[in-house]
Amino acid sequence: MFDVSANLKKRLKSERRFQILCITAISFALIFVLILFLNIFSSGYSAFYKTTIAIEVDYSQVIEDTSQFATMSDDEINKLDLFRFSKKSIYSLFPDIEDRKEKKLLIRIFSIEYEDEIKQFLIKNKENINKIETVYLTASDDVDQVRKGNYPRDLPEERRRIKDIQLEYYDILENNGRVKYVFNIPFLTRGDSREPELAGVGGSIVGSFLTIITVLILSFPIGILAAVYLQEFARSNRFTDFIEININNLAAVPSIVFGLLGLGIILNVFGLPRSTPLVGGIVLSLMTLPTIIIATRASLRAVPPSIREGALAVGATKMQAVMHHVVPLAMPGALTGTIIGLAQALGETAPLLLIGMVAFVVDVPSSPLDASASLPVQVYLWAESAERGYVEKTSATIMLLLGFLILLNLAAVLIRRKFETKW
């Protein structure tokens, strides 16, 4: 009676085959994600560290009585010409070097901002500067890459950017314990730079942040209001059908088209300043709006009609029923949609290229009207550069971008969990 018939055997077999297929598909997806993460992480994490080299600086050669620095303002110190003095301080590492060329090569193992770093040390510690201070200077990208093991030392000299003699200097400094590998704070706080060891993502983090805030301010209220009107108030007729179809179409328009629109209308007709988070935010809002509207409408639709009827039946106006009862219940869904829209906007590159957010920007923007880069565009910019330093920074920027995206998506999940209503 309970024999497994041939037919059942066949069905069970095909069931097993199906499951194996599914598991294989999932494994493939997971493996790809894993490879992607591993690849990015392994090439990017080193960007969060940098190599520094200690030198002794005799500040008493600038002013005999170093306690006087305390009386100077930061501006005054910044105006001091410490160029020669800084060079001399570096030469003092190897007092035996006479040859000018070799001296130059010695200087080149440091980043070009050594003078500024010596000044900044002075400004930071001006209250109690000793005659002789140990200052850690940022190493040049070449040295940094040697330290990180990214730079093959065994190539013939003429095929390396770093010369044998520089390697020799570096090895001596390393043996003397002057080389320190530290967390690269400026990478997170500074803007872009032509020197890979000095380039940072601070500018593009702030740029992305300002852009996203602009998107939020513009698209959240407009999106919610549009969705509420379309879903709750508009009578369904040809015109609203037409609007509905167009909103759905808008969601499918390739993002670069919005970039063209931004270029043609927002920059050229309205004359808003190019390369700015404001314009980037406006353009990305166009992209985010349909996402928000569609998500909000879906969650409005999910609110049971009995809630509206309950409110109407005690004499609420339509607006009261919607605003007091329906919208609050739809809010978690609307917020989730908004966050997902923002996450899309955060990762969007193409439209920003067209409105000039690819400009090389050294300063960290302080308002949405300052020229600025954004994280994905920074990735695009650095990915094109040949220097090893930019390669690791590209990966590190992707890591940050992915990190922010994961945070946003996590927020969406948490909001959904927290406010899930049951009725």
Binding site: R235, S236, P304, S306, I307, R308, E309, G310, A311, L312, A313, V314, G315, A316, T317, Q320, H324, H325, L329, T421, K422, W423
Partner: protein
Amino acid sequence: MNKVKISAKNIDVFYGDKQALFDVSMDMYEKEVTALIGPSGCGKSTFLRCINRMNDVIDICSVKGNVSIDGHDIYDKSIRVESLRENVGMVFQKPNPFPKSIYENIAYGPRIHGMANSKTDIDEIVENSLQKAALFDEVKDRLHQPGTGLSGGQQQRLCIARAISVNPEIILMDEPCSALDPIATAKIEELMNELKKEFTIIIVTHSMQQAARVSTKTGFFHLGKLIEVDSTETIFSNPGNQKTQDYITGRFG
């Protein structure tokens, strides 16, 4: 004999092209329970929703004819549905409390109508309404917990309390007990006997026993037409129409 409270004359209702009610005329009396019975789809709910103009909410629905309450035409242009519904409360088939606290469920109506301004006034209305709905003793310690956490019968009484809170004269009930067990049903029926001292009640029901137990008058609908309306006693013991007879004896339904 009580005076006529609601008078419907020659009501036709259309959903798009489809006619759901045909020339229904019926009087309903003050401080009585009037029951509407009839097979599924015959238009009882549609008729009920004409009385508080809930049909207005449905885009494709149009109502012809005349409904008056205390002699005032409620479909007149000068009547605002909001103030009509303040006077004509409604309880639905499935309990539909707002997903808010018990207190907020009841305070909502009085608040939007500006019937009470101070917290003590609202507290009083909340307590009063819950008392009248015979729910107060069961929930007085958990007024600020969600109304959706109550049992089905309690939720339905909460909805009755919500309808009472704005002090209506008429309460419409559309199969208020269909989602409830017999004990909860008995409670609501008992409650209706209390409420009819103060309110005019129209109830749609599928249970003939319920109609017999609670109502004074009963109207029988069939295929969108009002076949017969008379005192409940007459309808159940000596109906004037063969269709009514067939229905109450269970020959169709």
